[in-house]
Amino acid sequence: MDKSIYVAMTGAKAAMQSQAVIAHNLANATSTGFRAVRQSLETAPVEGAGFPTRFNTLTLPESWDNSPGEYVMTGEVLDIAVLGDGWIAVQDSQGEEAYTRAGDLHLSATGVLETAEGQVVLGTGGPVTLPPFNQLTIKGDGRISIVPQGQPPNTVAEVNVIKLVNPPAEELSRYEDGLFRLRSGDIAAVDPNVRIASGQLEGSNVNTTALLVEMIAAARNYELHVRAMQNAEENDQSATRLMRMNG
């Protein structure tokens, strides 16, 4: 069999995988704070006998798009959006620190501030727990102030500060649960320059128009590789026919 069929196969496989990545991004076109997945491919020379003319396609590790999503006004105090670069620190299911851009928060029955998925939001002084309050405000730098229950409106108490971090994007990776963490396993330091806005949510940063084009490109790319496989098969058939002893 002509070895080129295997080269074409790696190309077709990568195009099919791109389609899965595009489908994932499209499916999350309306997910709060979603960061689009970027796929990158690379050529890898095939080693071994023969001329070094063959290159397989290799899928490179996932990276993600760091551009901001669109901001939507909701008017809810507990909806927060990170303006520009930055992340909200939350506690994952293992109790470790992780980062997210999804700021649709709510209070649990015990007054703990949680994300929509139920991860506890971290403050600079540990998990954010709020006592009963009459009124709640979240400031631009993550400070949470309340008017405690039963107190006059001019009694303002500062409860906690939401931990906002801004590590360099290239040090962050997305993990299986969709949360981001530092690849080094360290905990990011608080960045006082990160700004949030209460009453807004950041949507997904998926560019649907570009995705539609990428989807078509990946499909055509796939067809080319299949075509190459077809050619390899035809070549092989011709070779077999030539070799046949039809005297």
């Binding site: 077709a12 195009a15 099919m16 389609q19 899965a20 595009i22 489908a23 994932h24 991004n25 499209l26 499916a27 999350n28 076109a29 309306t30 997910s31 709060t32 997945v37 899928t59 590790p61 996932e62 990276s63 909701t74 008017g75 809810e76 999804a102 649709d104 709510h106 209070l107 649990s108 029955a109 015990t110 007054g111 929509a116 998925e117 009963p132 309050f133 009459n134 009124q135 008017v147 229950q149 039963g150 990776s173 997305r174 993990y175 299986e176 649960d177 969709g178 690849r183 649907t208 995705l211 539609l212 078509i216 499909a219 796939y222 067809e223 299949v226 075509r227 496989m229 077809q230 098969e233």
Partner: protein, 260 residues
């Protein structure tokens, strides 16, 4: 085949969002209705290659290779922003200005909570909802009442024919929750306490952060029609793109089957 299933999760999510939008629009004239919102999150990522696994004897893979598997609906949460005000002039119509819920006794003996204050007086003189469920604490309106007054802090007074002094019939108390978004909608404009909402904290209107009452007015639905229409368009287009993604993946597989 994977991309077909990923796109399917997108279709499911947009379908749910459409149901939420439709329900909001259908309730644009429902008293005390709070709009819903569908919340989406990305699904688990499949680990194809673990980050930190060795790529050679001395090097390790810095990021690993993960593939997303689509989207899921985390919650359809209610948004408890204040609705508008409609003056009805009816003395048994009440509106809460601020936080809190009226407490309603269900026929099965449990308590339900509502923002809809369009009450009536039934044949036995009890203050009831439009469905005939009794308001708690019970208010009994005697015969011969000429005027009914509800103060901003919930005290109910009545002028009774032949009596100079108005008599106090009782007082309406409101319940509040740490996480109102966690209440379970029951239909009929009623909400039920849940594990997520926490227990009700009952108090006098106007105290401890509870809203005050306003007599002769009703709270309208907090659905914003324009916002819902924009949501509807966005949902429809996202749905179309996800179905496009299915169609293209299908074409690719078809091409493979026809040509090899």
């Amino acid at each position: 085949m994977q991309s077909l299933w990923i796109a399917k999760t997108g279709l499911d999510a947009q379908q749910t969002r459409m149901s939420v939008v439709s329900n909001n629009l259908a309730n644009v004239n429902t008293n005390g209705f709070k709009r819903g919102r569908a919340v989406f999150e990305d699904l688990l990522y499949q680990n194809i290659q673990q980050a930190g696994s060795s790529t050679s004897q001395n090097t390790i893979d810095p990021t690993g290779l993960t593939l997303g598997t689509g989207v899921r609906i985390v919650a359809t949460e209610k948004q408890f922003t204040q609705g508008g005000r409609v003056d009805t002039g009816d003395s048994t119509d009440l509106m809460i200005e601020g936080r809190g819920f009226f407490q309603i006794l269900l026929p099965d003996g449990n308590l339900a909570f509502t923002r809809d204050g369009s009450f009536n007086v039934d044949a036995q003189g009890r203050l009831v909802t439009s469905n005939g469920y009794e308001v708690q604490p019970a208010i009994i309106v005697p015969d011969g009442v000429t005027a009914l007054r509800v103060s901003r802090d919930g005290q109910v007074e009545a002028n009774i024919a032949g009596q100079a002094q108005p008599s106090v019939l009782g007082s309406i108390q409101l319940a509040d929750f740490i996480n109102p978004g966690g209440l379970t909608p029951r239909g009929q404009n009623l909400l039920l306490e849940s594990f997520a909402s926490g227990p009700p904290q009952v108090g006098q209107p106007g105290l401890n952060g509870l809203g005050e009452l306003s007599q002769g007015a009703l709270e309208t639905s907090n659905v914003n029609v324009v916002e819902e229409l924009v949501n509807m368009i966005e949902t429809q287009r996202a749905y179309e793109m996800n179905s496009k993604s299915i169609a293209i993946s299908d074409q690719m597989l078809q091409y493979l089957n026809n040509n090899l």
